[in-house]
C-alpha cells in the first residue's frame, strides 16, 4: 500500500461514529505498542545521566 494512497483517502470531514468494539481495539493496539517500550525499563544511559547529576557535589552513595 502506497503512503500517498493512504494520505489521499478522504479524511473524514464528518467523523463517523466508531463502534465501541473498534474503539476498544484501537486502544488495545495503542497501549500494546506503548507498553512494549515502557517494559524496556530505563536504559543505562539515562540512569547514568540522572545519577551523575545527582552525584554532583555529593558523590558518596553508590
Amino acid at each position: 500500500m502506497d503512503t500517498a494512497d493512504l494520505r489521499n483517502r478522504k479524511s473524514s470531514s464528518k467523523p463517523a461514529k466508531l463502534s465501541r468494539e473498534v474503539q476498544a481495539r484501537l486502544g488495545q493496539q495503542l497501549r500494546a505498542m506503548y507498553d512494549d517500550v515502557v517494559n524496556q525499563g530505563v536504559p543505562d544511559r539515562f540512569a547514568e545521566l540522572i545519577n551523575r547529576i545527582n552525584g554532583d557535589g555529593s558523590k558518596d552513595r553508590q
Binding site: T3, R7, S12, L18, L30, M33, Q40, F46
Partner: protein
C-alpha cells in the same frame, strides 16, 4: 537533588521514552529527545513543584521541545507527515517488530496534534485535563483531537485489510517467520 525527586524522574523515564518514540517514530531521535528533556529538567529541577505530577512535568518539557523542533523541520520540509512516514518505512526492523508496524504507520499519518493527544490520553493514561495542560490547550480541544485521531486511525487501519482492522494474523505470522 532530593532522593524522592530523583526516583520520580527515573520512574518516569520508561513512559517518557514510549511517548517520545510514539511521537516521532524513530528510536534514536526519541532517545535524543529524552536525553535533552532530562538535561533541561535536571537543570531546572527547582522549578518542579513537589507534590505535583513529575511525569506530567517531564512530558510537557519533552512535548514542547519536540514541537519546536518539529516546527523547525517543517520549514525545511514541506511534506512533513509524508516524510515522517517515509522515515518509518526506511527502518522497519529498528525496534519493532513487525507486530506494531501497521499501527505505527497509521499513527504516523495523523497530524501531530492529534497524535500527541491520542497518545497522552489513550496510552500514557493522562486525564483529558492533564493532557490539555501538557499541550497548552483547552480540554475540549483535546477531546476533539482524540476523537478525530481515533476516527482517522480506524479508517487507515481498515485499509490494511483485516475484517474490521488490525494486523492480519496470517500475514503477521508469515512476516515474523520470514523476516530477518
Amino acid at each position: 537533588m532530593d532522593e524522592s525527586v530523583r526516583k520520580a524522574v527515573l520512574g518516569a523515564v520508561p513512559s517518557l521514552r514510549a511517548f517520545a518514540i510514539s511521537l516521532c517514530g524513530n528510536v534514536d531521535r526519541a532517545d535524543d529527545l529524552v536525553q535533552e528533556t532530562l538535561l533541561r529538567a535536571l537543570a531546572n529541577i527547582e522549578s518542579f513543584q513537589p507534590g505535583t505530577n513529575m511525569a506530567a512535568w517531564l512530558f510537557t518539557i519533552l512535548r514542547n521541545h519536540f514541537r519546536s523542533e518539529y516546527r523547525k523541520r517543517r520549514r525545511e520540509v514541506e511534506d512533513n507527515e509524508g516524510r515522517y512516514a517515509e522515515t518509518l518505512k526506511s527502518q522497519p526492523e529498528q525496534y519493532g517488530q513487525v507486530e506494531f508496524r501497521e499501527f505505527r504507520e497509521a499513527l504516523a499519518q495523523l497530524p501531530a496534534d492529534q497524535r500527541e493527544a491520542l497518545i497522552l490520553v489513550g496510552a500514557s493514561g493522562f486525564s483529558y485535563e492533564e493532557a490539555a495542560h501538557i499541550c497548552g490547550c483547552a480540554v475540549g480541544t483535546i477531546k476533539s483531537r482524540v476523537n478525530r485521531a481515533r476516527t482517522r486511525l480506524a479508517e487507515l487501519l481498515s485499509v490494511f485489510g483485516a475484517d474490521d482492522f488490525g494486523p492480519d494474523e496470517q500475514t503477521r505470522a508469515v512476516l515474523a517467520r520470514g523476516g530477518g
